[in-house]
């Protein structure tokens, strides 16, 4: 495994080595394939060493784009995304991405430049207290104080970012530390006595849960992104089949369980389907695996799963009991817990009636939309699903289009769904699709944005062209901040305060300016022809799809309401 790196060579010769070189050697050791970085004064020593490095470096056109791309890469590969930003403004430009990754538990290792050690604290040029700023939005952060510490810190950072509940780790490197040299330190070990994630479940709790399952008349599994992080999808399927347990997904969990599986009861939450939400409402045993009972999922907690015994499997003990009172807590890696559950071979299930009820609901309350002469976004999503045979990687931005994508694109496999859930970050989609396509060059990547959010990181079109990434950029254009408009329509008497665009760029011309072919699509026939032409070719493309601007996302659980109070469940 250990190939002879420049590091080991230099070590043998015992020559002084610079902080920047130590950092890049440490990245090589972690088998980093790609860095999303943007240079500047404080990171020039690092960039000088990158000049000779073989690691692929992607230059976003804004640091925010860089970190979202790293998130997309991480979501698809499961590996940590690596980011470099310079001190001050470079570092503050990645704040949104850090908060986003923290919320959605994405592993990132982020390097920021810092002013030289001697002037820290003097408001030096491009100084920002990035440790202070990022402490609440990183899993952990470091400032390197001595060159010799670099190998240990980088090693720790990758370990912390990827183990337990994953998350972003930031390493702040003062310029003199990156530029200075030292004799190569001995191989250093990780020193983290306060960090020991529990991976194996407690046997007694597994027994308890197994017994609860055998007694349950209306059990349901709520599967979150923990299934994806632990790579427990096979085990989830096996366990659900063994015990005939219906599965509902959180927004971020989509793909963890095959959407076409007879036991799949759908997406739950604010815009989830009737069956999934009612399954949560009516169940007598709720088995949460790797989800955090986010408020967009639970609705009003007073009405959440009112009759259920709640079991919660989570690698982060702090999530258990945080929002929902839990009767069977299981602190563990989702995959390990599932393996244990499977090996219990609990009694055969006795809840056929419940499965019949769910199936009847599925038939009676599917997602629906009215068809008329205007192009419906739901129709577009159905077409995209069919044309890509359900095998695309779907990356979204935030808004109505995100919900339609979640509702209508049926994921048969894991790690094909990239979306900003916890933070709900507009501007995430386009750059994240860059990371996703780099992570999986053979896949069709659909980058679905609204006309609003697309304009938040538009500049990254340059990277798509530069890197020849065949991303299919789809703008569901409703000339408005659709989701805001929808809430204003429903909750603010249609007082559309600043949610409708009176002027929009010509997106096709805009694409053209970046050297990307663009098409305007105004009806279904055009969509049909153009989708056939561009979805599977090897070129980036931008599709400006004019959808019905009045369309709303349904079903919906209004804020403060419970799952049983969904509206828009039937035509």
């Amino acid at each position: 495994m250990l190939q002879e790196t420049a590091f080991t060579k230099m070590k043998a010769e015992n020559e002084p080595i610079s902080g920047a070189e130590l950092m890049l050697e440490a990245l090589k050791k972690e088998q980093v394939e790609v860095i999303f970085g943007y240079p500047g004064g404080a990171v020039l020593p690092i960039y000088d060493k990158l000049y000779d490095s073989k690691i692929l470096h992607i230059l976003p056109r804004h640091e925010q784009g860089g970190i979202h791309a790293a998130e997309g890469y991480s979501r698809v590969t499961g590996k940590p995304g690596v980011v470099i930003a310079t001190s001050g403004p470079g570092a503050t430009n990645i704040i949104t991405g850090l908060a986003d990754a923290m919320m959605d538990s994405l592993p990132l290792v982020v390097f920021t430049g810092q002013v030289a050690t001697g002037v820290i604290g003097t408001d030096a040029f491009q100084e920002a207290d990035i440790l202070g700023i990022t402490t609440p939005i990183t899993k952990y952060n470091y400032q390197v104080r001595s060159i010799e510490d670099i190998p240990r810190i980088v090693k720790e950072a990758f370990y912390v970012a990827t183990s337990g509940r994953p998350g972003p780790v930031l390493i702040d490197i003062p310029k003199d530390i990156a530029a200075g040299t030292a004799n190569v330190p001995e191989e250093q070990e990780i020193v983290l006595p306060g960090y020991q994630p529990t991976v194996q479940p407690n046997y007694l709790q597994i027994r308890k849960l197994t017994e609860a399952v055998s007694r349950a008349k209306k059990p349901v599994i709520l599967a979150g992104a923990g299934i994806l992080f632990s790579e427990g999808y096979e085990e989830l399927k096996q366990y659900a089949e063994q015990q005939s347990l219906p599965v509902v997904h959180t927004l971020l969990g989509l793909g963890g369980f095959p959407a076409e599986h007879p036991l799949f009861a759908g997406l739950a939450g604010m815009h989830g389907c009737y069956t999934a939400n009612m399954a949560l409402y009516e169940c007598d045993l709720l088995i949460n695996i790797g989800a955090r009972f986010d408020d967009r999922l639970t609705g009003n907690l007073q009405h959440f799963a009112p009759n259920a015994t709640v079991a919660h499997i989570d690698i982060d003990p702090a999530e258990i009991g945080k929002n929902v009172q839990t009767h069977i807590p299981v602190v563990a890696d989702a995959k390990e817990a599932l393996k244990q559950l499977i090996s219990q071979e609990g009694k055969p299930p006795v809840h056929q009636e419940w499965l019949d009820t769910l199936n009847a609901w599925k038939k009676e309350y599917p997602y629906f939309y009215k068809e008329d002469d205007r192009l419906k976004p739901q129709k577009v999503m159905e077409m995209l699903y069919e044309k890509t045979k359900g095998e695309a990687i779907v990356v979204t931005d935030v808004g109505q289009h995100q919900m339609w994508a979640a509702q209508y694109y049926k994921f048969s496999k894991a790690n094909r769904w990239v979306t900003s859930g916890g933070l709900g970050t507009m501007g995430f989609g386009l750059p994240a699709s860059i990371g996703a396509q780099l992570a999986s060059p053979e896949s069709i990547v659909l980058s679905i944005s609204g006309d609003g959010g697309f304009q938040m990181c538009t500049q990254e079109l340059a990277v798509i062209r530069e890197q020849n990434l065949p991303i299919k950029i789809i703008i569901l254009n409703n000339s408005s901040l659709g989701m805001v408009r929808q809430w204003q329509e429903i909750f603010y008497e249609s007082r559309f305060s600043h949610s409708k665009f009176s002027s929009q760029p010509d997106f096709v011309k805009l694409a053209d300016a970046f050297g990307i072919k663009g098409y305007l699509i105004e009806d279904e026939a055009q969509a049909e022809t153009i989708f056939n032409e561009v979805l599977t070719n090897n070129e980036p493309v931008l599709l400006d799809i004019r959808i019905d601007p009045d369309e709303n996302v349904y079903p919906m659980i209004a804020p403060g309401k419970g799952h049983h109070e969904m509206v828009g469940v039937k035509p």
């Binding site: 952990y140 006595p193 982060d316 702090a318 602190v331």
Partner: protein, 172 residues
């Protein structure tokens, strides 16, 4: 309710910031926090006094603290046999006519006078927070010019009553 939580933490830069940050991020109500080196090299001891509405919040606080990578150990010792102490320095107005009266108050509290000037006294008092508070109330009418309190620091007594084994928060 008031709880006393002690933490053993790695002595890494920014660790106190991480703890106070967590309290503000999670909207926890903290009364005092005191920090200093512990008996182990590289480790510090933090004592927090917090106010919580219910056991759920308390459980969250301990779990969130435990989740911090620099935190080695978290204990809620409120229900244990503990020694808890706080130090207060009080500069109180005093002249020749009130000085004797103040001295007579000091004695039962085992406080001491550590500085005297023409028109003031500085009193040093150690004890549990209740005692400190009671003394401050008593001395207030004389006119407090300055007051500084360290906040509670505490740990377990050498012997514990058997029924009071430490309440475990781990559900592992």
């Amino acid at each position: 309710m008031k709880r006393i939580i002690t933490l053993t933490v790695m002595n890494r830069p920014g660790v106190l910031n991480r703890i106070t940050n967590l309290f503000s991020k999670r909207n926890y109500n903290i009364e005092s926090i005191s920090v200093g080196y512990s008996e182990q090299e590289g480790m510090s001891r933090i004592t927090c006094v917090v106010h919580v509405d219910n056991d759920g919040v308390l459980e969250q606080i301990t779990k969130q603290l435990n989740k911090q990578i620099d935190v080695i150990k978290v204990m809620d010792i409120t229900e244990q046999s503990i020694v808890a102490r706080e130090l207060a320095l009080i500069k109180v107005v005093s002249n020749s006519s009130t000085r004797n009266e103040i001295y007579s108050l000091i004695q039962p509290f085992r406080a001491s006078v550590i500085d005297v000037s023409k028109d003031s006294l500085v009193i040093q008092l150690t004890g549990e927070s209740d005692k400190v508070e009671a003394f401050i109330e008593l001395i207030k009418p004389y006119g407090i010019k300055e007051l500084a309190r360290t906040g509670t620091t505490a740990f377990l007594r050498g012997t514990q009553k058997p029924s009071q084994a430490i309440k475990p928060y781990s559900i592992v």
